[in-house]
């Protein structure tokens, strides 16, 4: 059986990749994918702990996270499309209307 720490390390790596991608990428779609990556990193640790402790709560949480992620993807993609239609760019640095 694979030890728990392996899963956690992998989960940490996934989350770190997500954070890094979120911070350095300029394309909104990529940023969006980075968010999914972070969420799934967290999901992995949830499942790992659930298996380790033989508790179902962790698995249930994963479902919640997936549902929320799906909803977020719907709304997020809609926003991205409308941003693209109005600004004709997906570069996040140029979408800065709220700046003073």
């Amino acid at each position: 059986m694979v030890p728990l720490s392996y899963y956690l390390v992998l989960s940490g790596i996934l989350f770190a990749c997500g954070v890094t991608g979120f911070l350095i990428k300029r394309n909104i779609i990529t940023i969006f994918m980075s968010i999914e990556l972070m969420l799934n990193g967290v999901n992995l640790s949830f499942v790992a702990f659930a298996a380790h402790w033989h508790a179902l709560a962790g698995q249930v949480f994963v479902f919640f996270v997936m549902v929320v992620a799906a909803a977020e993807a719907t709304v997020g993609l809609a926003i991205i499309i409308s941003v693209y239609r109005t600004r004709e760019t997906l570069n996040i640095d140029q979408v800065n209307l709220l700046k003073l």
Partner: protein, 651 residues
């Protein structure tokens, strides 16, 4: 007949009139305004007459509870009216003279564009004055007291586009505030020590007190504070300065408020509080001294004035001084008697003066009048009656009341009497001077152009002869009725009839010094005062009719003294230097520039500036750059996690 259940209607009716005219007057016709304005005070007068005829001394005093007002712990003050002989007399004077002046105003104000506003204020005044008179506690009385002050302010400044009228209104209001301050402190003292403001309760609690002869005590303090209030309202030294300026108002207002009714409120209040004053001899002495000084002082100023209304104003101040003397020597009924006759003849004098002013086209300077006898005979006859009455020539009304006061003053202290008689001489002199300057000699005024006429009556404007003309009937009838009252009004005082009528109120508490042997003295004093009055008239005749060049010579020989009197002893200037200027300067330097601008404005501005500077610094965080936000979040999360790990290590 027993108590009348409609007493409460008397003050309420004029209030209704004021409300109707005030809200609807602008849009309704002049006839409608006139009807409303006359009907409601007229009804009140009719009711007052009805109550007077049904009045039985056995049923008095009678309290009518209208509604609860303040109930707080053991303290209570209600909307309740109190009817006894004193308030009945006042009631008849105020509604009667008030109604006549309303009728007169219909003619006098006929062409004023703010006709309805005038009658609204006038009715409102009647309401407050009647509340003042009928109140059964000091608090309700104070409402009326302040209310008449308000009405007075509104009416003095009635022609508010004129700067002098607006400032005269303000002056009256502010000077009255000073008096009201004393009145209020007096009321606080009463509440503190007697726990009530109800007349009956307070006086019942004061009754057991012995007169504070040895030194000043609580009752003396209350008495003097109440007197300060009375000084403000009744224009006594040192607070009389507002009354002469109040002549800026329309003449009917001067007659109603500043001669017949409102200014006597102070006398009424002192008389109403007689139980307190009788137990505070020092306060009474102060009242008497102030009264005598005011009577003499104002009368001397009256000699030199040339504005017909200013003469009458100073005369009013002087006559109010007489009433104060009467109260001060404990002869409250004599004071009220003079109050009543004064309301008749001084109201008449002002109305007649208004008729004169109307006749000569708005001119108030007596030097530009003269010879009006033949032009306006009715005004002349009524004014002559009033002059005889105020000068104290028997059998006119003023003689009876003034003589009563002088007699009572003599019994208290002959100094009061002496000053009183000298004042009577001066009074008679300046009143006949007014009469001679206005009605004798040749007409010196401009030819009246009816189009440039300030207050010409309708139907009277088309004579085209350009000469002074008599007023319409609507103005003359009130003059005649008041003239009749000025003749016979004093007769109620024969055999002390008036005093006996008021005896249930003032009791037999004031010193009964009328002894058998003093009858001759009384006759002698009466003779002296009549002689003095006649002398005043004769001197006036010599100076202003037979030898009209003399006054200027006398004025020139008196030099500075004449200048001082002509300028009203520079009292206004003195007050301006002593009180007004320091107040204005202090307000400007400390309150405006110091407190208002430096403290309040600056603290508000600095708070706003500070907030702006602070946000200027922190707004750079809101770059609008999404990745920098994310960076901050990540950094914050990292710090948080580090902290939690550190906490875990600590365990």
């Amino acid at each position: 007949m027993t108590q009348n259940p409609y007493l409460w209607l008397i003050p309420t009716l004029p209030l209704a009139g004021a409300a109707i005219n005030g809200f609807l007057g602008r849009r309704s016709s002049k006839t409608a305004v006139t009807t409303i304005a006359l009907a409601f005070p007229g009804l009140a007068f009719a009711l007052a007459l009805w109550i007077a005829f049904g009045f039985s001394s056995a049923a008095a005093p009678y309290t009518f509870d209208l509604a609860h007002w303040i109930r707080s712990g053991s303290f209570s003050a209600d909307f309740a009216f109190y009817l006894d002989q004193l308030s009945l007399v006042m009631l008849l004077v105020v509604t009667g003279v008030g109604f006549l002046i309303h009728v007169y105003s219909v003619g006098y104000m006929a062409e004023d564009p703010s006709y309805y506003r005038f009658f609204t204020y006038l009715n409102l005044f009647m309401f407050f004055m009647l509340t003042l008179i009928l109140a059964n506690n000091y608090l309700l009385m104070f409402i009326g007291w302040e209310g008449v002050g308000l009405a007075s302010y509104l009416l003095i400044g009635f022609w508010f586009t004129k700067d002098s009228a607006a400032s005269a209104g303000k002056k009256a209001f502010i000077v009255n505030r000073i008096g009201d301050f004393g009145f209020l402190i007096g009321l606080f003292l009463i509440i503190q020590h007697f726990g009530s403001l109800n007349f009956t309760e307070v006086f019942a609690k004061v009754q057991p007190y012995a007169p504070e002869t040895s030194g000043a005590g609580l009752l003396t303090a209350i008495g003097i504070l109440l007197m300060v209030g009375a000084c403000g309202k009744s224009a006594q030294i040192p607070l009389y300065v507002w009354l002469p300026d109040a002549m800026e108002g329309p003449t009917p207002v001067s007659a109603l408020i500043h001669a017949a009714t409102m200014v006597t409120a102070g006398v009424y209040m002192v008389a109403r509080s007689h139980v307190i004053f009788e137990r505070a001899p020092i306060a009474l002495t102060v009242v008497a001294i102030i009264g005598t000084l005011t009577a003499l002082f104002a009368a001397t100023i009256g000699i030199t004035q040339t504005d017909i209304k200013k003469v009458l104003a100073y005369s009013t101040v002087s006559q109010l001084g007489y009433m104060f003397v009467a109260c001060g020597v404990g002869a409250f009924s004599a004071g009220i008697f003079h109050l009543m006759t004064h309301a008749f003849f001084k109201g008449l004098l002002f109305l007649a003066a208004g008729s004169v002013i109307h006749a000569v086209g708005g001119e108030q300077d007596m030097r530009k009048m003269g010879g009006l006898r033949s032009y306006i005979p009715w005004t002349f006859i009524t004014m002559l009656t009033a002059t005889l009455a105020i000068s104290g020539i028997p059998p006119f009304a003023g003689f009876w009341s003034k003589d009563e006061i002088l007699w009572k003053a003599y019994q208290a202290n002959w100094v009061y009497w002496l000053i009183g008689v000298v004042t009577a001489l001066i009074t008679s002199f300046y009143m006949f001077r007014l009469l001679f300057m206005t009605f004798w000699g040749d007409y010196k005024g401009i030819q009246v152009d009816d189009h440039g006429h300030a207050h010409s009556a309708p139907g009277h404007g088309n004579h085209g002869h350009g000469e002074p003309h008599e007023s319409p009937m609507v103005m003359l009838v009130p003059l005649m009725i008041l003239a009749l009252l000025s003749v016979v009004g004093g007769l109620v005082g024969i055999h002390n009839g008036f005093e006996h009528f008021l005896e249930p109120v003032f009791g037999s508490e004031f010193p009964k010094t009328i002894t058998e042997g003093s009858g001759n003295t009384e006759w002698l004093l009466m003779g002296v005062s009549v002689l003095f009055a006649l002398a005043g008239a004769v001197i006036a005749y010599i100076l202003y009719v037979s030898k009209p060049y003399l006054p200027e010579k006398i004025a020139a020989s008196l030099g500075n003294l004449y200048e001082a009197v002509l300028n009203k002893y520079y009292v206004d200037e003195l007050y301006a230097k002593l009180f007004v200027k320091p107040l204005v300067d202090g307000s400007t330097a400390i309150l405006w520039q110091g407190v208002d601008r430096k403290v309040i404005d600056d603290s508000v501005n600095n708070a706003a500036d500070g907030a702006r500077h602070l946000s200027d610094e922190v707004r750079h965080m809101q770059s609008g750059n999404l990745r920098s936000y994310a960076g901050w979040i990540a950094a914050g999360a990292a710090v948080l996690i580090a902290y939690m790990i550190w906490l875990g290590v600590g365990q």
